[in-house]
């Protein structure tokens, strides 16, 4: 971890020593530019500005002006998001649709003290099985459209098993209606999550969110197991924000991570150790000792650190391919490589927004196979230590993520 990364994490902490503050204020303009870049890459610019202000840290004026303008833009964007969310909650309530706000919407509305500090790109809502078709149609009737099928025909709702096709409406946030929490629905506790969900008041209307203990475990699992390529300090800050609410019952969390509920002590432990280390979050030592996996090692910790600090991966193709390659090699499962790399016609249809039974799909399928083949050649080329830095970084991160995922599943 270099000085910039270290100071960035220090700024995000709740308390800052005088020595740290002095060190931060003495950074060169070039280092401040790097701090801004780290904030940008981690989707944390509004939080960075807020923390600099609350810690009363002197910042070069050009950086402060840029951060303030960014903050006001994000805050305006957040007001639009909130207005859209309230309209959706009203629609769902009027139509008797049971729903739970997920991810950013939950965090922004309930966990973060100021919703503008939690950046997000879409609105995720979990809808009960019995209501999801109705919810989808209610939004379609309100002018949202299925982005995967612009002409409205051949709507493929089973492409992404855990959520319906993304819904769009001009100048609004995309909406994902989830029926499960994860792609392969490998949770046994979805009914428990519904039964434990809490009713909350959002802008004068009733909605539901996961219980805080569930949200903590879900956030760790979602980030470390399912979105390893998107990990960043913002992931740690989400966990930090949940914990500093102060209402976490750690005994309940210890119960929930058992196999008959969430069953993910490895992801939670790895995530919490990092959160404590970088953001100095107050996590009881006894709890960490209770859930510490027997095979947790310094090597695994180093891999997680690299994954969190290496943002931003530009070459997603190289990353994804090397991730699945190494993960599959570890498991000796070549079927998995093929399954992840060779998209089905329905998946290609959804990703490219073409009708899945159209003639273009055959051409796109061929293009997909060729792309995988060239990527494979490129990875072999990279493995000899040549090529551009971004591809190398992506390749390395993908490899590490593959090893880490293998450890999680072992």
């Amino acid at each position: 971890m270099d000085r910039v990364q270290n100071n960035f994490c220090m700024i995000l902490r709740d308390n800052l020593s005088a020595t740290c503050k002095h060190d931060i204020e003495n950074m060169l303009l070039e280092e401040w530019n790097s701090i801004y870049h780290v904030g940008y890459c981690n989707n944390l610019l509004p939080l960075l500005y807020y923390k600099l202000k609350t810690h009363k840290i002197s910042v070069p004026s050009q950086i402060e002006i840029t951060l303030r303008n960014d903050y006001l833009n994000y805050s305006g964007r957040d007001l639009k998001r909130k207005s859209q969310l309230l309209e959706m909650i009203k629609l769902f309530n009027d139509n008797g649709i049971e729903h739970i706000l997920l991810k950013g919407s939950h965090l922004a509305e309930i966990v973060y003290t100021n919703s503008a500090l939690r950046m997000m790109g879409d609105i995720d809502i979990l809808v009960s099985h019995k209501d999801i078709e109705k919810a989808f149609n209610v939004l379609i009737n309100e002018g949202y459209y299925d982005g995967s099928q612009p002409d409205g025909s051949n709507i493929v709702k089973d492409v992404y098993v855990h959520h319906y096709p993304v819904l769009y409406k001009d100048n609004l946030f995309p909406v994902e209606l989830h029926r499960y929490l994860f792609e392969n629905n490998d949770l046994k506790n979805i009914d428990l999550i519904w039964s434990r969900a809490q009713t909350v008041n959002i802008g004068g209307m009733a909605s539901k969110v996961m219980e805080l203990e569930d949200m903590l475990v879900y956030t760790a699992l979602h980030g470390l197991k399912y979105h390893t390529q998107k990990l960043g300090v913002n992931f740690l800050y989400d966990l930090h924000a949940i914990i500093i609410q102060g209402n976490i019952n750690w005994d309940i969390v210890a119960e929930r991570i058992k196999d008959n509920d969430w069953g993910n002590s490895k992801t939670l432990y790895s995530a919490l150790v990092m959160t404590k280390k970088y953001l100095n979050t107050n996590i009881p030592e006894f709890f960490l000792n209770v859930i510490r996996p027997v095979d947790y090692s310094q090597k695994i910790q180093a891999i997680i650190e690299e994954l969190i600090l290496c943002r931003k991966i530009h070459n997603q193709t190289a990353y994804t391919f090397s991730f699945y390659l190494f993960h599959a090699l570890k498991k000796m499962s070549f079927k998995r490589i093929a399954g992840q790399a060779l998209f089905s016609p329905e998946q290609i249809s959804s990703k490219t927004r073409n009708r899945y039974n159209g003639w273009r799909i055959a051409a796109l399928y061929f293009q997909s196979v060729m792309s995988i083949f060239t990527t494979f050649l490129k990875i072999i080329y990279q493995s000899f230590g040549v090529g551009d830095n971004d591809a190398k970084k992506a390749f390395s991160a993908g490899r590490k993520a593959g090893i880490f995922t293998h450890w999680l599943e072992s």
Binding site: Y50, L72, G76, R77, L79, K80, S83, N114, A116
Partner: protein
């Protein structure tokens, strides 16, 4: 009637969010547009309740801030005219 004798009033549909640094954001849900306000503009916005003339707002501003410029009336008129043009503010006649 002179502008400074009128009583400006904020559009009640517009959302005003005051930030931790005294800057603020306005959100017009009809137009789905947002606007940033500096601390002085935010102070003025909070007085647009149909009970203060611009003259009175400037006096309040002078009580609150140092170094209020002599052409403040002109600035506030321009600011209000801009808000009116965007449909964010209207005027109550005395």
């Amino acid at each position: 009637m002179e502008l400074n004798k009128q009583y400006p009033i904020a559009n009640s549909m517009v959302v005003f969010r005051e930030e931790f640094d005294d800057w603020a954001v306005l959100f017009d849900p009809d137009a789905n547009e947002t606007f940033g306000l500096n601390p002085v503009s935010a102070f003025i916005w909070k007085k647009l309740d149909g009970k203060h003339t611009t003259e009175k707002i400037i006096n309040l501003l002078k009580e609150e801030c140092d170094d209020v410029s002599t052409d403040a009336q002109q600035h506030i008129d321009t600011f209000l005219a801009d808000l009116e043009k965007r449909g964010l503010v209207g005027f109550e006649r005395a």
